[in-house]
Amino acid sequence: MKTSLKSGMTATALLLSFGTAIAFAGPIEDRKAKMKEVGKQTGIIGKMVKGETAFDGQAALAAYVAMGNAGTGFGELFPEDSKTGGETTASPKIWDDRAGFEAAGKKFGEDLGAAIQSGVPADLNALKASFGSVAQNCKACHTDYRIKKN
């Protein structure tokens, strides 16, 4: 009885601390996971463009769509209390210049939307063109709104 009470208390404490951890680290972990997924999909297309893998139009379109799914809701994961912690590489400029940050996200959404709208790319050159338009948004945003920490 005593033992089960003790373990029950331990479990409750664990649950509580887990809950706390989620409440504080949630948006940082979530936006990292989303960005990682966007990066993975970028790699699928990027490797075709770079010449490391063979051109596959269907797979490229699927990657664009997956990128869009992963990116959805990304901009909402930067509440005021998530400026620091969790080894975030988010720049304080996100909060100082919210309008600029959101405009950069919107631009990415539009360029990605256009790439998805045009369907399966006909050949590598078509893919290079759409990738150029979509991928320029990575560095555009990372120039102002990310800080490298390692």
Partner: protein
Amino acid sequence: MKRLMKWFLAAVVLGLGVFWWLSEPRLPLESGVGLSELTDAEPDLTKGERIFWAGGCASCHAKKGASGDDKLLLGGGHRLDTPFGTFVTPNISPDKKNGIGEWSLEEFAVAMLHGVSPDGAHYYPSFPYNSYRKMQLEDVSALYSYLMTLQPVARENEPHELGIFFSWRRSLGIWKRLFSNHKWAVEVDDSNSSLVRGRYLVEVLGHCGECHTPRNVLGGLETGSWLAGGPAPEGLGKIPNITPDENGIGSWSDADIAYYLESGFTPDFDSVGGSMTSVQQNFAKLPKEDREAVAAYLKSIPPISSK
């Protein structure tokens, strides 16, 4: 007691004299040699443009975030936040009043190679003359001719906002004596033209070491940790290790490095960011063999683990 005072005063005067002599913005004897012949040569603007992009002039002297032809409007005005204070980059457009429009080639060369202004004052090393000092004279001349073809910008210069200990330019003469030298950071095989070119692009024109090599408390480069990264000398965050160490870019192939400089993508398709974006865009404008030369050099240097 009186005698002791005399000796003390004499020592102070002597000390000041030595300081004055050491900090004098005088030029090494070799300056000026050959420049007069270069003035008469037909300006090589194609070469000048290549030096301009490799040297990264636009990254600090064009407006922040400028793209396309706006990268050629060199009115300055970037604010560089450093541990020593805020440096405001100057106007280097050929504007006659606020830029360098009235400068002679010789004045330009002295500024680029020795960090001394036409009116004889030391420049702060936020202007990377410590890297540029090994520039070939014909490259200085070609760059000068190219800069003079650009559109003048009227923006007036602003003073730097520095801590009291750093606001006296004369003391930079001592700094230069401590931290300027003509030695290469890395010895390379002189018969390998790609390595020689790569070293010139990285150590001199691209001035990569100014950010990628850590600095000591006085702001001098810790050359023993050449390109091993460290705290950003300007702004926030850290600068990556770009030596072939496992903490650096040891896993990148030559082709990966060249592709990064062309496209801005790392081998796992993370993108370039921060102040490196502009540098990468500069390198994308260079001929392919220049990016390959940088890659060859970076693969050849000693691997150093980050601190």
